[in-house]
């Protein structure tokens, strides 16, 4: 029996989350008594296979077709569903990124099977699986059972840390040619627009966050200065975007970006659930707040109690002083 792990890539560059999926998948495969096989779809896939064996893929399926010029949720879903059928796979998994969950939803719809998104733990010891999945962006957990002939589950992003297998697997590369209707090109990416080439919110090593307490769009300037000084970027809470002070692309939260910096400096942010779930993967959190009891202060590693408008410029000045 077989498990298929969808490994996402961006035009030939493997997406880090795929290694989380493989780390999760190979452990689950061992416990379920099946082999762990990776699937990489579309143009450039052959360039993305390098690390897959080291992370436990016994077989790497490379799917190609003229429709698969770039990412396309329907075409990828159809491809994976066909591979499930032809390989007789009993388990399909991916990392619960936007793409991972989207493609697995397409697979599930096509195979008429359930799909459990964003699992944190899975017990495959019975025919009906027991699992724990994330609700509310991860601030609440839901225990569910999954009764299905073919089990389709994604693992919540950041729920497992990617780690190579203790012994590398064989990783035999094998080609797969799906039978795709030309009409599936209707949802394949046709163009890309690059807005920034530098550090982005999702990948920044330092994020300086501002909330309602910042007070205005202009008052974000000192946060920008500190972020620039630390090689990071500015993020914000939902209250800030709702007030029109920052663009939505700066929003950290359940409906914004999930950040995972080395340090998150959260200023003037209370730390409501909506914001917290976007920030909780940060390695360290330093809160600056006038309220000692604020949710973000209680959950932070360090805190400064005070007015961010005075504290932030003082930090920037101190950083500059030590550098000079």
């Amino acid at each position: 029996m077989t498990m298929l792990v969808l490994c996402d890539h961006d035009r030939g560059t493997l997406v880090d989350a795929s290694l989380e999926a493989l780390t999760f998948g190979r452990d689950l495969a061992t416990r379920a008594g099946v082999s762990c096989e990776a699937v990489v779809i579309g143009k450039g896939a052959e360039e993305a296979v390098g690390q897959l064996a080291a992370y436990g893929a016994t077989v790497v399926h490379l799917a190609s077709h003229e429709v698969l010029t770039d990412f396309g949720p329907e075409a990828w879903g159809e491809t994976l569903a066909q591979l499930v059928a032809s390989s007789g796979a009993s388990i399909v998994t991916a990392c619960g990124t936007d793409r991972g969950n989207e493609v697995l939803a397409h697979v599930a719809a096509r195979l008429d099977e359930p799909f459990v998104a964003n699992c944190r733990e899975v017990d495959p010891s019975d025919d009906t699986w027991s699992m724990t999945r994330a609700q509310w962006g991860g601030s609440l957990l839901e225990d569910v059972t999954l009764a299905a002939g073919r089990k389709i589950v994604s693992v919540a992003h950041h729920a497992v840390e990617a780690a190579p297998a203790s012994e590398p697997a064989v990783g035999t590369v094998t080609a797969f040619s799906p039978d795709l209707d030309a009409s599936l090109a209707r949802t394949v990416v046709t163009d890309r627009v690059v807005l920034s080439r530098g550090i982005t919110l999702a990948t920044a090593p330092v994020v300086v966050g501002g909330g309602r307490g910042v007070g205005s769009a202009e008052a974000f300037a000192p946060l920008e200065e500190l972020a620039a000084e630390l090689g990071g970027v500015v993020g914000c809470s939902r209250a800030v975007t709702n007030n029109g002070w920052r663009p939505h692309s700066d929003q950290v939260g359940q409906t914004g970006t999930r950040i995972a910096p080395q340090v998150y400096i959260a200023s003037g942010i209370s730390g409501a659930i909506q914001h917290w779930v976007g920030a909780m993967a940060s390695k360290h959190i330093l809160a600056i707040n006038t309220d000692r009891e604020a949710n973000i202060v209680v959950r932070a590693d360090w805190a400064v109690i005070g007015d961010l408008h005075k504290v932030i410029p003082a930090i920037t000045e101190e950083v500059r002083r030590r550098r000079s």
Binding site: E102, A105, A109, N118, L146, A148, T203, N242, W302, V311
Partner: protein, 255 residues
């Protein structure tokens, strides 16, 4: 354009979510309710498209009778037709929800003609199953793309933009199409007094959908165990700057 938007009524939590004694639901005794954020933006987007191109907006929800509140809210900001699929349970599993919505949409289309565009939220704020829109689109044989933060309506197609790290992907999708939208596609308007008054009189259709449960069953909800670590207070006010920078140096982010 005839546009249908599917929305979900969800609790509006603050800093903490409590759970009912039986473990099956969020304790909403002290919480308000709202439209799931992505879907509130989907309603706004539909209203803006219709304002620019003509047509009408139908808003559909599957939920308790009280979800009428979210439908009326949608009407107060410009939706024309309201449809409720009432359920007795706290929530339906994603397969069952999708089957009921598909049947309801098919029923409306059989009577009144096809929608050009169906909009869903990318995922609901509470259950977050990440699949209902995809299942409905597949059952109706229509294209769908999720994660959409920009829509331009063309002749026989829509151009949809999806945010990726550092930019956008662009999709050209033929209509009738289905899109899963994300918050940030617009800034939803607040209802006017006139809108509020009109929404009270908007016609609301109720459609029962007997469907069977899918393969995912909820046992209980619980809060994750948090690693509670004592917060180290570095100081008060700007005098704490030196201690902060000590920490930043220790973390290696000053390099």
């Amino acid at each position: 354009m005839r546009i249908l938007v599917c929305v979900k009524r969800v609790p509006a939590p603050g800093a903490k979510i409590n759970i009912t004694g039986d473990g099956l639901a969020v304790d909403t005794a002290h919480l308000g309710f709202t439209t799931s954020p992505h879907e509130e933006c989907a309603v706004e987007e539909a209203v803006q498209i219709v304002e620019a191109h003509g047509g009408e907006v139908t808003v559909l929800t599957l939920g308790p009778a009280e979800a009428e509140e979210q439908l009326r809210y949608a009407a107060s900001v410009g939706a024309h037709n309201l449809v409720l699929v009432p359920i007795e349970e706290v929530d339906w599993d994603p397969q069952r929800t999708a089957a009921a919505l598909t049947a309801t949409i098919s029923g409306i289309e059989a009577a009144e003609g096809a929608f050009d565009l169906l909009l869903f939220g990318n995922e609901s704020a509470d259950a977050g199953g990440f699949q209902v829109g995809v299942r409905v689109a597949h059952a109706l044989g229509r294209p769908i793309v999720n994660g959409i933060k920009g829509i331009d309506v063309g002749d026989g197609s829509v151009t949809a933009r999806r945010e990726i790290d550092g930019g956008f992907e662009v999709y050209e999708v033929p209509t009738p199409a289905v899109l899963g939208v994300k918050e940030g596609i617009n800034l939803p308007r607040y209802p006017t007094m006139k809108g509020r008054l009109a929404s009270k009189k908007a016609a609301l259709a109720t459609v029962e959908q007997p469907t069977e449960a899918g393969g995912q069953e909820r046992l209980r909800l619980h809060r994750p165990v948090e690693q509670v670590s004592e917060t180290v207070i570095l100081g008060e006010g700007p005098e704490a700057a030196a201690a902060v920078v000590d920490v930043l140096e220790e973390l290696g982010v000053l390099a």
